[in-house]
Symmetry: C2
Subunit: 333 residues, 2 copies
């Protein structure tokens, strides 16, 4: 029985169709429509699921369900997504599960985008050999997740906010409105704001030129990677700063949790790859209480498909297994 | 069936005898012998167990076992304690379980002193209503423990080192040899070193006078409490600094773990009590990503007996239940 998973992001919608072993049979990547509001985004999700199902050579009816990993606040029972600032015009609370179910005719599972990405790395990716791990996902912001005994630890629903561990009291301004959080140093939005601020003050850098040449309006992970490749001083300095902050936060988290592995993912983490993970490990070591028992620090292994694969994994959580679908309830059970 | 628990510390040995519901039926507190080396410490443990058993009005043979919470590195299977710097002349690895078992005639369970203290607060103390909590124990150092799904999370054996979360990069020197750890601000050893350093540089303070009047050679929790009561400027400043650091570390840990409660214990935490916990909560709030869902911050409820009660709880872990004691093994089982 096949499952689809959707990674809903502010710039793209990535969808996969996977078999029970987690093999990707089909996929589709569409840009997130920027001018049509939530209905346009929902239509694009439906399109992307249909295209990946076609890519897999199957019919939508063969899907056990579709998992959707979304930013914002997820109300799983209501099937809604609220306050997803990264999604275009996504104000207030938007119904997601019901319209997708109506269009696709299969059960829909909503979950937090970072949590499903971490779970995918734990089950199918870099964290597979370990029963405990910390995922640190650097994208526009910095999210994360804790896996303990092979399961996500959600706390009261909001665990894993590694991006808001404080690495420097009264430090750099964070998009969350506070200061000195990890995200203030290692999230793309904060890094771009700092870069623009320094360029505005006369610091030389090719970051904006590279961005424009790539036809972007934002400093994407590819822009940072290109600038590093060209040894752009400002980019090198701001990535150094991100590595420093990631090492500090990872060390504090490891001293607290003593997990077997730290997996660095997200758009920026995936793009900068194993050398970035190695540098974070070096930055972490001096702050570990047991450096001789340092955990593995690994780059996420599933790349851009991780979020969608993790969303597909969610389908198993509440949908009855295939044999039970449509089974008559036994009143004596 | 009764159990005894021993809290082995550098200055005192606290023992309790508890019934299956955790009620304390007998107790004894002896000074830790300073001049007789490990054998003298072991003799004192035996004495304290015998005296608490007598205090409970029972015989040593009625004990299911004795749990010992100890500083240093515990090898549970070997029954040894290594590198317990707080214990007099405790160099290398010392056999603890075998000599105690020989003297008392009952099974001995060794465990980490902070871990048993946190577990006691979770099962019997301030953390009882919650299935997840973070314990922060401020004593000579700062230790801690994480309770998840009502069980201690030990990671690969060393989880809970909240005292070595970094609160200020390149900050105050920590007894661990690093800088800026929570313990560098909120552990008594580091606080005393800082106080003596500032007094040596001419800062006025009555901390040393109060210490000497109490007949102490170290600034115990009682010395700090007395100095606060007298509004000693240096003591007030250093406690303010400890509260600041505890609030920061608690916030980072809560953003990561989203636990229901934070329990402040240890000698200093217990002595300064609920007003200290309330101040830590206030210091934590500005750094929480979800301040509206702030966890409870509570003062440890079991006071000086918590460590010994937690050690007694350990007995259940590996000793067969009463009905199985002495039972003939069934070869068909």
């Amino acid at each position: 029985m096949l499952r689809a998973g959707v990674d809903l992001g502010g710039t793209k919608i990535q969808t996969v169709v996977v078999d029970p072993e987690g093999n990707v049979l089909g996929q589709c990547r569409l840009p997130t429509p920027q001018d049509l509001g939530p209905p346009g985004v929902l239509d694009a999700i439906v399109d992307s699921v249909r295209q990946s199902v076609a890519d897999a050579g199957v019919a939508p009816g063969q899907l056990l369900g579709v998992g959707v990993g979304s930013p914002g606040q997820i109300d799983h029972d209501a099937g809604t997504v609220s306050h997803a600032g990264n999604l275009p015009d996504w104000l207030g609370t938007i119904e997601v599960a019901a319209p997708l179910r109506a269009a696709l005719g299969v059960p829909i599972e909503l979950a937090n985008d970072v949590q499903v990405g971490v779970m995918a790395e734990s089950r199918l990716g870099a964290g597979r050999p370990y029963s405990s791990m910390l995922g640190i996902f650097c994208g526009t912001g910095v999210g994360g997740g804790i896996v303990i005994h092979d399961e996500l630890w959600l706390g009261r629903g909001a665990a894993g906010e590694v991006g808001h561990m404080v690495v420097e009291p009264d430090g750099a301004p964070c998009p969350c409105g506070r200061r000195g959080c990890l995200e203030a140093y290692a999230g793309r939005a904060a890094m771009e704001a700092e870069a623009r601020h320094r360029i505005g003050k006369g610091k030389h850098s090719d970051l904006i030129k590279i961005m424009e040449k790539k036809g972007r309006t934002r400093m994407s992970s590819g822009v940072w990677a290109k600038a590093l490749e060209k040894h752009d001083h400002l980019a090198v300095h701001l990535i150094d700063r991100a590595v420093w902050a990631l090492g500090l936060a990872a060390a504090s988290a490891v001293n607290l949790l003593d997990v077997e592995a730290v997996v660095i993912g997200g758009g920026l983490g995936t793009r900068l790859g194993p050398p970035f993970a190695d540098r974070i490990r070096e930055a972490m070591l001096p702050h570990l209480i047991l450096p001789e028992k340092a955990p593995q620090v690994l780059s996420a292994a599933l790349g851009d498909l991780g979020g969608a694969m993790g969303a597909a994994l969610r389908v198993e959580h509440t949908v009855p297994p295939p044999g039970d679908l449509g089974a008559v309830a036994d009143p004596d059970a």
